[in-house]
């Protein structure tokens, strides 16, 4: 390992200013923050979200990592080309793809079955990053529940239906293959 190596990015800590080095101002500002929250909670402005009575606000649905969906292209077909990149990238090994020859001329393969075990998934978003055609995406649906384990294993139809449910609120991040936002 050389420090001049281009693969190594050296990040230096920000220099401490006089307030940081004197300890006391920062200590006081930390206490002020806590005290402000204390006073706010006494005045009825709570930080705590009373889920499920109250729905949490998701700041940016496009970067939230919730339930997966399989995107459809403009003709309504599954966008996936069964390249196995997501299944390879998945650290939890929760994606199971069976590929077969594509009935359409624009690609060689398509997923005959595409199964994600949502109980095994750790919602890291690496499948989304690995996908070369932006077919798999994580939505902002966070309240995933089920009555059995089998129910939580999502097949292709279910993943496509998640897309149908969420496509209006969360537009696809790209419409062309390989064109990521």
């Amino acid at each position: 390992m050389k420090s001049g190596d281009h693969d190594i990015k050296w990040l230096d800590d920000p220099k401490l200013g006089i307030a940081e080095r004197l300890y006391v101002p920062l200590i006081l500002s930390g206490l002020t923050t806590t005290f402000r929250h204390l006073v706010n909670s006494l005045r009825g402005r709570y930080v705590t979200v009373s889920y499920p009575e109250e729905e949490p606000q998701i700041d940016n649905p496009l970067i939230y990592r919730g339930v997966h969906r399989l995107n459809r292209d403009e003709r309504g077909r599954v966008k996936c080309v069964a390249c196995f990149m997501c299944a390879t990238a998945c650290p939890a090994h929760c994606i199971d793809i069976v590929a077969s020859e594509s009935p359409w001329p624009d690609r060689d393969k398509y997923p005959q079955s595409f199964v994600i075990d949502e109980l095994r998934c750790i919602f890291c978003g690496m499948c989304e990053e690995a996908c070369p055609v932006d077919a798999i995406e994580l939505t902002s649906l966070y309240n995933l529940t089920g009555r059995s384990r089998e129910e939580m294993v999502f097949d292709k139809e279910k993943l496509l239906s998640v897309f149908d449910r969420t496509k209006d609120q969360e537009p696809m991040q790209s419409t062309q293959p390989g064109e990521a936002v």
Binding site: L16, R21, L31
Partner: protein, 329 residues
Amino acid sequence: MALLFGAARHLDSCVFGFAVIPFGSVIPTNFGVEGVQKPIQLVVAPGVNVGVVYVLAVSGIAIYGVLLGGWASNSKYSFLGGLRASAQLIAYELPMGLAVLGVVAASGTLDLQAIMTHQAADGWYVLLQPLGFIIFVTAALAEAARLPFDLPECEQELVGGYHTEYSGMRLLLFLLTEFLHLVTAAVLIVILFLGGWHLPWITGWTDDVGWLGAFLRIFVLWAKVLLVVLFFMLVRWSWPRFRYDQLMALAWKIMLPLGMVNFVTVAVLDQVRLVWQLDGMGWTVVIGAVSWIICALALVVVGLATPRVADNRPLRSAVDLESHIGSRC
């Protein structure tokens, strides 16, 4: 057996301290006991005139509890946790001792009850020795292993520290001790620096009290203790934890010199007062102001002397050197 022994040592280091800690001032002389002419002190072991030394000595036992507890677990991680914890406790005992020394020098007594009476008459030591107060509070936080210094069992980073292998009632002994340490520390802060049972214009300042005054003093003392505990709780949710090297650097490179500065300041100012007979309220205010200025100056000097970055990674030059040597071997 050894497991229980470690946990029990840890607990009684805390409980023993309460033997000499007053939980109020005195109850009136006319209490009704035949032949008792002195006011009766509200303390388990009254008249222990080495109270401060006793409390420090007993809280020193806590180190044995932690060390034995970790060692007895027969697990290398618990043992390392115990070593870490005892190193921290030993490191912070010194600045704590120095801060207490300032109080003892100013009041001229080791009796906790007398220290409170002295403050009631002369002014709280938090106003007269601000530096000592800051050092004592910091060291007390570290001794009680509260959050900015809770490295013995930082729950987000370690599984458990020295009490990883414990469960049930023995774990309870450790956890109980932790909270008891918090209360002991708060009581000591209140007694040594925040005037104990004294509240200006309300509780009076001599041993001459009626029943109302006696109960009022108990109430004032424990109200102060609860406020200090509340402060400790707020601290817990406010400040991030130190890294271990920062913890040690703070104890040995910052708190210890500051403790020296505090003690010398107190001793010199005390001597100045004694030699030039500077009695009276006005001079107390002047002395207090001088110590506040010295406190501010000491903190500024310490702040300017600390390194500009909080980074402990190897230097780039060291990495280059290492790879250079490595490639030649």
